[in-house]
């Protein structure tokens, strides 16, 4: 049986762990609020961008000169999955769930006979995926250098993807990231980024033009071609922002649990400690009494 001193040490150690998890929870809560605000602030731009793209793409998709970013390369042989995770752990199943989703997607695609390439944004995803799919990873980016996610961050990711696309390294690009549903629920999902047409056609509200036709300046093709890369960046940016919010939400929940568990453990250990102490006193008393009786 553990001695009293051991128990005391143990209780102290659990107490300090609890202090740490509590602090981490509070930090996560503060960061969550900021991340949520950032994600919300970016939403109008993304929505507007999607609406504009929807209008243009309908007009342009049928024409032969349409950008491959919009309509794709006409093949679906090689897939590029951009897996977005957090840079840090200690946020429950957040990273694992995203990686699991990515793994599922990779396996399905490979079963269909497609080539798969991976870009891992965020440290944790790369760490987990390299065990099984090290050969598929073409690039790993971590964001630990960036304090806040801005257009510049997503621009870097977007540039890399476009560069690969222009070199014909893949046909279809999908983002795997967490959708921020609420503080306690983040759902991993895969979303098509290139060809953009498929993504745009899904549930975007088109403004009612009342039958009028857009006039465009310089012309629609030029506009579309300047806009497409920017659209991709915007989608990446909002995915990144949502991911940060999701990470913080998951971390908050995980740390809340940890704090509660630590509390329970402390209660239990205290009970054992008191019982052991009582037992020791009783034993000592019995020894003294029986000693006195023997005299």
């Amino acid at each position: 049986m553990a001695s009293l001193k051991d128990l005391k040490n143990r209780i102290e150690s659990v107490k300090s762990t609890q202090k740490i998890t509590k602090a981490m929870q509070m930090v996560a809560a503060a960061k969550l609020r900021r991340a949520q605000e950032a994600a919300e602030a970016a939403r109008p731009y993304a929505q507007r961008m999607a609406a504009v793209m929807a209008n243009l793409s309908t007009a342009m998709a049928g024409t032969p000169g349409a950008s491959p970013l919009l309509v794709g390369t006409g093949k679906t042989d090689t897939y590029l999955l951009v897996v977005m995770t957090a840079d840090r752990g200690l946020c429950g199943g957040f990273n694992t769930n995203i990686v699991k989703k990515a793994r599922e997607r990779i396996t399905t695609l490979q079963a269909e006979g497609k080539d798969v390439k991976l870009i891992c944004v965020g440290k944790k995803g790369g760490d987990q995926l390299k065990r099984q799919f090290a050969k598929l990873i073409v690039e790993r980016m971590d964001l630990s250098g960036e304090k806040t996610i801005t257009g510049a961050t997503s621009g870097k990711v977007g540039e890399k993807i476009r560069f690969m696309f222009e070199n014909g390294e893949f046909d279809v690009c999908e983002l795997v990231s967490a959708e921020f549903e609420s503080v306690i629920s983040q759902k991993p999902r895969a979303k098509v980024l290139i060809p953009a047409k498929d993504a745009i056609d899904e549930g975007v509200e088109r403004p009612d033009l009342a039958g009028a036709v857009y006039e465009a300046e310089p012309d629609e093709e030029v506009i579309l071609n300047t806009l497409l890369p920017r659209y991709a960046d915007t989608v990446i940016l909002s995915a990144l922002l949502e991911n940060v919010a999701g990470e913080m939400g998951a971390k908050m929940a995980a740390m809340d649990n940890a704090t509660r568990n630590a509390g329970e453990l402390i209660d239990k250990l205290n009970l054992v400690y008191n019982r052991t102490r009582q037992a020791q006193i009783t034993t000592e008393l019995t020894e003294i009494i029986s000693g006195a009786e023997a005299l």
């Binding site: 109008p44 731009y45 504009v52 257009g151 403004p207 806009l227």
Partner: protein, 133 residues
């Protein structure tokens, strides 16, 4: 009451302006254009420069770098890469930034670096042009 134009100015990070105004003058790729209420549907790429928002007799100018304007029956939307109110531009700092950027162009080690620096020079020059008038 005269009609008002609904105007949204959004950048990737946040919404900068949303409200009803009298008129907005936008520097389009192929020349400035003014947008009044009930403008026909129209879209244009924006060249770096200042938009002027006219409302109730006052004019507010905002520097826009890289962006896109869309007019729908619902109003005008400007998607700007970067936006800063002209009143907030610091002329001294701008001059400093510009000379720094020019220096960078001169000392750039490779093509990519130079392109980046040149883009900055172009942007700062556009900002100065806006300040000048």
């Amino acid at each position: 009451m005269a009609d008002k134009l609904h105007f949204d100015l959004v950048s990737p990070e946040r919404r900068l302006f949303a409200g009803d105004v009298d008129q907005v003058v936008v520097p389009g790729e192929e020349g400035d254009f003014g947008v009044l209420p009930n403008h026909a549907p129209f879209m244009s790429v924006i060249r770096p420069g200042a938009i002027a928002v006219l409302n109730d007799g006052s004019t507010e100018r905002t520097f826009i770098h890289g962006g896109f304007a869309e007019v729908t029956p619902a109003g005008l939307t400007i998607l700007a890469e970067e936006a800063i109110a002209v009143a907030d531009i610091d002329a001294d700092k701008l001059a400093q930034d510009l000379s720094d950027a020019r220096e960078d162009v001169a000392t750039a080690k490779d093509e990519e670096e130079r392109e980046h620096a040149e883009a900055l020079v172009a942007k700062y020059e556009a900002m100065q042009a806006v300040l000048a008038n």
